[in-house]
């Protein structure tokens, strides 16, 4: 800009000598973050009341993706509702299918064949890895680390290719249906999956070197957004959030479904700095802890998939006679461990083939409600770090 322009517009002249930047004049300001902000992972809007660099209050506004899926559930048969569950948590379609299928099976008393149960576990755990890879990659992106994102998405792409081979879709699978799984695994798929796991397992180390133990990343995420176990439970925050606060709790262990009790795996939790290789500065319950629990969970998922592939029995993959099942005049509430936490389905039947009420309890919805509590008196730059560590999927928050 030339001098003449600046002289004609005196507002553009900044007096650097008088120290405008050091001026700590406090003035409250409302800042609108979203709904199209890249660091909010979807259409989340957060209104921030700030004072300088400090955030005094953060109020999330949701509902931009609301489709009233629960009302749709009251108008279609259960097997027709499966595709709608894909579109709730669209990063973990398999796990959502599984949750709803389990609820209907428990309500109508349907037995799932052994082979279908094992295929379900394989697909659900693969989807958990894929979902955590997105979480890791985009969280790095939020913190300014671009490389890890590309590495994570490279591996996720391979999982999506395998899902495409198994069920024909890359994101909205509907592969796990009421009474079993929609399709049997194609020929050669198990060998392909084995190859992938052998390739993938050492890559977790790469993510750790690139991102987890990167000094800049650790500095930005440690000691930020600390949540205690009791706060998590009060707000209904579950999954990696609860384990990131140090509580060993996983529905796959405490209330096992689809035969998870027969698999040998551990439930990783967060540890303080210095224990089990956790870098200095980290406090249990901070953003880094929540992030790192997801990394550790991927190793456990690999273990589960390997065991499942070794035991895959022969047999049918779907219970017989599943169209037009009459739902009894009864109700159930079933929860499964989604990559983001406990996903619950309440289903009520009234004797007809169409449910009288379908309610989905999304883990992201409950996890997000803690935002106002955590984002109190934090730095403005920490808000994306905190929101990213909660790892919300807006499709499921808004349903």
């Amino acid at each position: 800009m030339s001098d003449t322009v600046l002289e004609s517009q005196p507002d553009l002249l900044v007096d650097h000598d008088s120290g405008t930047q050091g001026d700590l004049r406090t003035e409250e300001m409302l800042i609108n973050m979203g709904p199209q902000h890249p660091s909010t992972h979807g259409v989340l809007r957060i209104v921030l009341r700030t004072d300088g660099e400090m955030v005094l209050e953060a109020i999330p506004h949701i509902g931009y993706l609301h489709r009233c899926a629960e009302k749709i559930g009251e108008n279609v048969q259960p097997y027709q509702f499966i595709p709608y569950t894909d579109r709730m948590d669209y990063l973990a379609g398999m796990n959502n299918n599984q949750g709803f299928a389990l609820a209907i099976e428990r309500l109508a008393g349907i037995e799932v064949p052994a082979r279908a149960q094992v295929i379900r576990v394989i697909l659900a755990e693969l989807n958990r890895i894929a979902s955590h890879l997105v979480s890791l990659g985009t969280y790095g992106l939020d913190m300014g680390a671009f490389t890890a994102f590309l590495y994570c998405f490279r591996e996720r792409e391979m999982i999506l290719d395998m899902f495409e081979a198994a069920c024909g879709a890359r994101l909205t699978y509907s592969a796990i249906t009421v009474g079993g799984v929609h399709d049997d695994l194609p020929e050669g798929w198990i060998e392909r999956c084995r190859e992938f796991l052998d390739y993938f397992e050492p890559k977790i180390n790469d993510y750790n070197n690139l991102l987890s133990f990167n000094q800049i990343f650790v500095k930005r995420t440690s000691r930020v957004g600390i949540i205690s176990i009791d706060e998590c439970l009060a707000y209904g925050a579950t999954g990696p959030m609860l384990r990131g606060s140090g509580l060993r709790w996983d529905l796959r262990k405490t209330q096992p479904y689809d035969g998870y009790e027969t698999y040998d795996f551990e439930v990783p939790i967060a540890y303080p700095a210095g224990v089990n290789g956790v870098p200095a500065g980290v406090v249990v319950g901070d953003c880094w802890s929540r992030y790192y629990v997801r990394v550790l969970e991927m190793t456990q998922s690999v273990r589960i998939i390997r065991q499942a592939m070794d035991r895959l029995p022969e047999g049918p993959t779907e219970a017989p006679k599943l169209k037009n099942i009459k739902l009894p005049d009864d109700e159930v509430y079933v929860e499964v461990e989604n990559p983001r936490g406990q996903l619950g389905f309440y289903v009520r039947g009234d004797g007809s083939a169409i449910p009288a009420r379908v309610k989905a309890r999304g883990p992201s919805f409950c996890n997000l409600s803690i935002t106002t509590k955590v984002c109190q008196d934090v730095l403005l730059a920490d808000v994306p770090a905190i929101v990213g560590s909660i790892d919300v999927v807006m499709g499921e928050v808004d349903r």
């Binding site: 949701i62 509902g63 609301h66 009233c68 629960e70 009302k71 009251e74 108008n75 428990r106 309500l107 176990i229 009791d230 439970l233 009060a234 707000y235 209904g236 579950t238 140090g246 509580l247 060993r248 709790w249 996983d250 262990k253 405490t254 209330q255 439930v267 939790i269 009864d330 109700e331 159930v332 509430y333 929860e335 406990q342 619950g344 309440y346 009520r348 169409i354 009420r357 309610k359 309890r361 919805f365 409950c366 409600s369 509590k373 808004d398 349903r399």
Partner: protein, 177 residues
């Protein structure tokens, strides 16, 4: 603790507040009178034997045939005394609170479980149940100027919203089911 024992404990502690209990079926639950619900909720959270510290979900129900609305609260005990050890010994119960359909009011339990804040807002938004003493009762998923509560069984879909077509008259007069 088994649901039977919890319901017995509630009956001795609160007497008349317990309207009925249901054990058979897939979802054992106890029905509590709306006026007594906050006291019962505090008891469920703070009693040393119960410690139901996780409010998992609040499901709003439209019981059109009985001309009632209801809320189902799904609660769970998560042991936290020894966080590093995996404890699988847990229990869960469900509480149902039934209210009148024409003037539905249920006391809020957001001060007992913070999770109830958003769940109650959702039930208010989609089912039109008012929660007295709620800290910030406003719509959460629908827009502020939305008319009606979509999850009610007698809800009529609007033809348009600010000029955006929502449904057609044919759809309204020819429901698929």
């Amino acid at each position: 603790m088994a649901p039977e024992d919890i319901f017995k404990l509630l009956a001795t502690e609160f007497g008349d507040a317990v309207e009925s209990t249901t054990f058979d079926g897939g979802h054992p639950h106890v029905t509590i009178k709306p006026a007594s619900w906050p006291g019962v909720a505090l008891f469920l959270l703070e009693n040393a034997k119960l410690r139901l510290n996780l409010l998992r979900s609040i499901t709003a129900l439209d019981l059109l045939a009985d001309d009632k609305l209801a809320c189902v609260y799904d609660l769970m005990h998560v042991p936290t005394d020894d966080p590093e050890t995996l404890i699988t010994d847990t229990f869960e119960i469900a509480v149902r609170v039934v209210t009148d359909r024409n003037s539905p009011v249920i006391p809020s339990v957001a001060h007992v479980w913070a999770a109830a804040d958003w769940h109650e807002r959702e039930a208010f938004d989609l089912m039109g149940i008012h929660f007295s003493n709620h800290p910030d009762l406003r719509r959460i998923l629908c827009t502020d100027d939305w008319v009606g509560h979509p999850l009610r069984k007698d809800y009529v879909f609007p033809l348009e919203y600010h000029g955006i077509p929502a449904t057609t008259e044919f759809e309204l007069t020819n429901p698929r089911h």
